[in-house]
């Protein structure tokens, strides 16, 4: 914004002066002035439709003499404001120098009340059975501008309810206020034109085009942007009322895009994941597949107990056994994970340094798939760049694990530690695992976990806190939404304790603050950073040291590869 400072113009919202860029619409300008203009159809990341008419305001422009073009001054010495006789919609009114709007006059209030009354004419009032209740704009504005009773005596329209318009979205046409946000989203963001208006007048309704369904991987976003309960999510349907849910800021682990999310939980159970607005990363969107990731928390193959040779033990016993194993090993291979946070990766680097073995191999397992060009990148891990920044791996060459099998066959490596990774992807078979000591650290059981000498349960991204570095070198943090299984240490705490047991304490005191104190002193791009300091929208760190690495990501929403 700073480079545009000279272009800023003054507009006046209820007499409050705000400086905005020319062309800013008046809803955003008013937001800047701390004035809320109610709206349904306007969405900051979609085109302006202007069909709900809720944002009507009075508008006036400074008067100029028609002939001389000189400002017309009033008796009070100020330029006369020529108020328009009729209200205008704020969403489609762009800032011009000296523009005035009024949002608190009787005309504006009457407009809002009129619009609200018409919207409620055919509304079914199913709030008790509507998932949107509690976060419904219609409810909120009905409180502010509704009359509390209905003057409508005719029969209400009946429209189809509980209609599946896609595998993950249910449409209730009676609740729809025809704002068209979903139609615009499908066209402009998802690029999958599926929805449109049918019928006329008060029978107008949203429907899929014949033979099409709303089945693209961004379909649930229409549920988020629907200002009423017309579009609801199949997965979240009738699960919990929104007012019971606690919101925790988090980061999606689906890919290196690092989509900002909000985790909605109640009493340790996660009910849904929604996108969190970040104009530099994901705007207001996220993929449907990333919304399902919370199901991993209560998955059947979830690990929850420490075990030595299959025998359940307490965490400190497992810790001692692992430390002893690492000290005694001749050669150790560490398969680290790009799903680990920056803090954990740094601790793993310290661990690799502390292992006394002669032969040490460190890998970060790669996960590549095709990107979708929007919010899923080709690198399906959230924190590959974190592994580079922290120095866990020197370069992307260490994501190639082909040397591991040879080292195991040659007997150079007798201990393999894998963190949240299956060793089969490293080319090791069950026969190989029987030859070596295999330590499986993971949130879930893998096929090979049963051959592990020591099993260490880890926590999912929802149960711990930390930070990731996304494809834009943006350091973003996630918070703990729900508690992990009883008795299971957070990954960073376990690694720090393991380092201490190895006789190489990298951090003093517990928690991420202690890790960051040592981490920021050692890692140049993270200098002066700490978990507490990372802002909600993240902060871009210096990744220029790795400019020559061949990252696989293609273009996504707010990212274009540097070497393209």
């Amino acid at each position: 914004m700073a480079e545009n400072a000279d272009k800023l113009i003054s507009v006046f919202i209820d007499g409050i002066e705000v400086k905005v860029l020319p062309g800013t619409n008046m809803i955003e300008a008013a937001r800047k002035a701390g004035v809320q203009i109610p709206h349904y159809c306007y969405h900051r990341h979609l085109s302006v439709a202007g069909n709900c008419r809720m944002c009507l305001v009075e508008m006036g422009t400074p008067a100029f003499d028609r002939v001389t073009k000189a400002p017309v001054m009033g008796p009070d010495g100020k330029q006369v404001i020529q108020w328009m006789p009729k209200p205008v919609i704020a969403c489609a009114t762009n800032a011009t120098p000296g523009l005035h709007i009024r949002t608190t006059t009787k005309l504006v209030k009457d407009c809002r009340e009129g619009v609200e009354e018409f919207l409620l004419v055919n509304h079914p009032l199913d709030c008790p059975i509507c998932d949107q209740a509690g976060e419904c704009h219609l409810q909120e504005y009905a409180h502010q501008y509704g009359r509390g009773y209905s003057r409508y005596v005719e029969e209400k329209n009946v429209k189809p309810k509980r209609k599946m318009i896609g595998p993950r979205v249910i449409l209730d046409n009676e609740r729809c206020i025809l704002c068209g946000r979903c139609v615009r989203f499908c066209k402009e963001i998802a690029k999958d034109e599926v929805l449109g208006f049918t019928e006329r007048g008060s029978h107008s309704s949203i429907d899929c085009f014949p033979g099409k369904t709303l089945s693209n991987n961004y379909s649930v976003n229409v549920v988020d942007i629907c200002p009423v309960g017309a579009l609801t999510s199949v997965d979240f349907r009738f699960k919990m009322r929104t007012w019971f849910l606690k919101e925790t800021p988090s980061i999606s682990t689906e890919s290196s895009v690092g989509v900002n999310t909000t985790i909605w939980s109640r009493e340790g159970t996660i009910y849904r994941i929604t996108p969190r607005r970040n104009e530099a990363v994901n705007d207001s969107w996220m993929s449907d597949t990333a919304r399902d990731l919370y199901k991993a928390v209560a998955a059947e193959n979830r690990t929850s107990a420490y075990a030595i040779e299959g025998r359940p033990v307490k965490s400190d016993e497992a810790l001692k056994a692992l430390a002893a194993l690492l000290k005694a090993s001749k050669g150790v291979a560490l398969i680290a994970s790009a799903f680990s946070s920056v803090e954990e990766q740094w601790l793993l680097k310290k661990l690799a340094q502390a292992i006394p073995a002669a032969k040490k191999l460190v890998y970060v397992a790669p996960h590549y798939a095709e990107g979708d060009g929007l919010l899923i990148s080709a690198d399906r891990t959230p924190n590959l760049r974190g592994a580079l920044v922290t120095g866990l791996i020197k370069g992307l060459a260490q994501t190639d694990m082909s040397s591991l099998k040879a080292a195991v066959d040659a007997g150079e490596v007798d201990t393999v530690l894998s963190v949240n990774e299956s060793v089969t992807s490293a080319g090791l078979g069950i026969e190989d695992l029987k030859k070596i000591k295999y330590v499986s650290l993971g949130t879930h059981f893998y096929q090979t976990s049963q051959y592990a000498a020591i099993e260490i349960p880890l926590l999912t991204v929802f149960e711990r806190e930390g930070s990731f570095v996304n494809q834009q070198w943006r350091l973003q943090k996630f918070a703990k939404a729900v508690p992990g299984p009883a008795g299971v240490l957070a990954d960073a705490d376990f690694f720090a304790a393991l380092l201490a047991a190895m006789g190489s304490p990298a951090t003093r005191g517990g928690g991420l603050a202690a890790v960051w104190a040592a981490l920021s002193a050692e890692v140049a791009p993270l200098k002066d950073q700490s978990y507490a300091k990372i802002p909600a929208e993240g902060v871009v760190i210096d990744g220029s040291a790795f400019a020559n690495e061949k990252f696989r990501e293609g273009k996504t929403l707010h990212y274009a590869p540097a070497n393209a």
């Binding site: 709030c127 008790p128 059975i129 209740a133 509980r162 009322r241 007012w243």
Partner: protein, 181 residues
């Protein structure tokens, strides 16, 4: 503040024997034997329960036997001692009451916590939870007084419904089924 010490009159001889007081008390007892009874032989006799009495909260059905609760969880929200815990559920599409869409999968009411305040009844938009005249709830174990859906409907029974809003909705939908053109 100054303390004032009161002089007590010493008891008389008659007072010290206690006999006149006992006789006076027995006289009152004797007189009441011939008066109107003021007590009930509980539990054989039960007192009449006045209207608006706040007994155990119960779930009720409408005259058609439809469970009225739609698990909106407003009672759960408003309940001061957090005695209510609802697991919402969906009514299957082939059910006779499919148009209501939502019903509780389970409704747990912890009577060890309930304080009989009646806020759940006030908050209910469907008039589905009603504090009726059950005032005596006792059990041998704690689990037995954590009431679940089946028990709550058994206690609640059926109450008259003047509005029958869901029936009206269904009638309107059936009428419009032929299309509006």
């Amino acid at each position: 503040m100054a303390t004032k010490i009161l002089e007590r009159k010493p008891l008389t001889l008659a007072e010290r024997t206690y006999l006149p007081q006992i006789a006076a008390g027995l006289w009152v007892t004797f007189r009441k034997m011939f008066g109107r009874r003021v007590t009930l032989e509980y539990p054989e006799q039960k007192p009449p329960i006045p209207r608006g009495y706040r007994g155990v909260p119960t779930l009720v059905k409408d005259p058609n036997g439809r469970e009225k609760c739609v698990s909106c969880q407003l009672c759960e929200f408003v309940c001061p001692p957090k005695a209510i815990r609802i697991t919402p559920g969906e009514i299957p599409a082939d059910s006779a009451t499919a148009h209501v869409e939502k019903a509780p999968k389970d409704f747990e009411l912890n009577m060890l916590r309930c304080i009989y305040c009646g806020l759940c009844e006030e908050a209910c938009p469907e008039r589905a939870i009603v504090l009726q005249n059950v005032y005596s709830l006792n059990a041998a174990t704690r689990e037995e007084v954590v009431l679940h859906k089946d028990k709550l409907y058994e206690l609640g029974g059926t109450l008259p419904d003047k509005i029958m809003k869901w029936d009206k909705k269904k009638a309107a939908a059936d009428k419009a089924a032929g299309g509006h053109h």
